[in-house]
Subunit: 349 residues, 2 copies
């Protein structure tokens, strides 16, 4: 319960060796039980599942649960849309090729907000139906599909970094550290590469299948992935529309993610500047007074960490207050520290 | 340097009064010098400016610096676009009314990716120009304009909450707490209200100025704010296009922000569930061992806070390691705690 006679191995280590980096590494490896939310965001059901023992493994279960859900949502959403617009296909004017295919194509062009205008609703009912469909489609793309895209990118990222380190021997903690440091950069890089592939494939297919010249094909690709969709060039053959269904969904999603990741990269850069500024800022007596959480006149390592994290804006006082409340309820003997004795007392009462 | 003889006011307070909420409040009020990043995101230049004394105050300076920048970027971007498309106006086919107005209207319809298709580029050069313009427009809307929208919403939010509390006497810290707890909810609420106003205004103007019936006007509003832009209904009068320039920019931005805030609200809900789960989870001896940052055999309040924050995924080990390194460099007498003596020593050396 007192600190006087206890050794401070943290600082003794520094005595023995001046390689602070090693100490940091060691600390990094130690932290295993605390899940790092940013690396692998876990769903609440997963946490619960993990505790309730091993799960049954069907083929569907091998997919990420939220990813499986996403595919089911997408199929249901497209299914309902296709059935609705198939029944009112006479109230939609424009270039038609094949009943069901046209309906799916119209759904995809609408939900991604590309809206070429090569097929447009032509009665009050179909117009309102299209309005409902585009709003719900935006919500689905924005909330559900984007999450799935993030998940896929992050999974690929881990594989990419593992592959990059095949040559030299590195432990899982080094990979973890590497991912954590350059996470957003890798995400940007990967989505950009994937986007280039999608643009090239789109241009080639439009040139071959839709018989557009290269400039027009590229122009149509740009107008589509940005969801601009002027509609002067669009998919008007059967093969083209089948390709379009998959390609439009993927490419619009990818470009959206690309811009998001670039914004994230900027935010991270600014955040790093703030961290650097907070750490390099001269610590004053006023800071020490503020940082002294237990009012004992000195600032311990952990108190300093909490204070600086608050200053960096990573956490706020409400987070700290909630945890302190929990701490106080666990600290049965009111010594200001938690020991095994406290836990035994807390769990027996 | 020892904790044995020092009083632990934190826990003594609990002795004297059992109103833990009061203690939390008090702690909340105490934290004034540590800027809470989430409430008022401060630009790096601002921090530097604040330290370098009072600034000169021109009219432009009264605006938020990043907001001023946004308006300048937008004007420059629209200006360049208008000049470019004005010079190639013969290579753009579609319904034209007035040279310069058409060019601005075309720029806005393109940069927001509405893309009605009522005016489309008609040569290789204009097509490629439109491609460049839509990509840069997306970046501008996504990164710069959205930030400005967030800033405006947050500013309005503070005013709203202040107005709501006009009746009862509350200190600035209570308002701060209120904002922090329900921040995202208020943001959602405000943007939804603003969106409804924009939809109503848009429908009325389209019905009156463009002489569309109500269903068609509403359909065109929906097709525009979602950036669907089929193009079967669009702005084709001079007054309509002048209105469109401002209305399209505002309403597309608002709907985008609305979906983002809803997603944020969901994320926050999930985050709160995780926090609740982490706090209600039974603390074990293994946890204590992991949480013990300075390896003294017991876990202090701040150590517990750092451990739980890590478990919640709010911070990661890299953040902690960087701050610990700074702590060690400040702790000149290597006592494991920072005191005024350490600071004097550190600053004299």
């Amino acid at each position: 319960m007192t600190n006087r006679d206890t050794i401070q191995p943290l600082l003794d280590q520094r005595h023995q060796s001046h390689h602070t980096v090693d100490i940091t590494r060691k600390r990094f490896r130690r932290c295993k039980s605390a899940p790092v939310g940013e690396i692998a965001p876990v769903e609440m059901d997963e946490i619960k599942n993990d505790q309730s023992g091993p799960r049954s493994k069907s083929i569907l279960d091998k997919l990420h649960p939220s990813f499986r859900k996403v595919i089911i949502y997408l199929v249901i959403y497209l299914g309902i849309g296709t059935i609705c617009f198939y029944f009112v296909r006479n109230k939609i004017k424009g270039k038609k090729i094949d009943g069901v295919l046209d309906s799916i194509y119209f759904c995809v062009v609408t939900m991604t907000t590309v809206g070429y205008g090569d097929m447009v609703p032509n009665s009050a009912t179909t117009k309102l139906l299209a309005c409902v469909y585009v709003f719900s489609g935006m919500a689905l793309v924005g909330i559900v599909l984007s999450k799935a895209a993030d998940y896929l990118v992050e999974k690929q990222e881990t594989l990419l970094i593992k592959a990059m380190h095949m040559g030299r021997r590195v432990g899982p903690s080094e990979i973890l550290e590497e991912i954590e440091t350059n996470k957003v950069r890798y995400k940007c890089f990967m989505i950009a590469a994937f986007l280039i592939v999608l643009i090239v494939v789109g241009t080639v297919v439009l040139a071959r299948v839709e018989r557009l010249d290269t400039i027009d094909a590229f122009y149509c690709v740009c107008a589509t992935i940005t969801t601009l969709g002027y509609g002067d060039k669009s998919f008007s053959t059967k093969a083209g529309r089948i390709f379009a269904i998959f390609w439009i969904l993927t490419s619009t999603l990818c470009l959206g993610r690309f811009f998001l990741y670039v914004a994230e990269l900027n935010a991270e850069k600014r955040q790093k500047e703030i961290v650097k500024w907070v750490l390099s800022r001269r610590t004053t007596n006023v800071d020490l007074e503020e940082a002294d959480l237990d009012n004992d006149g000195v600032v311990g390592a952990a108190e300093f960490v909490v204070y600086k994290l608050k200053e960096m804006g990573k956490i706020n006082q409400l987070d700290v207050a909630a945890i302190l409340k929990e701490f106080e309820s666990l600290d049965i003997d009111q010594s200001g520290t938690l020991s095994n004795t406290d836990l035994t007392l807390a769990q027996s009462s």
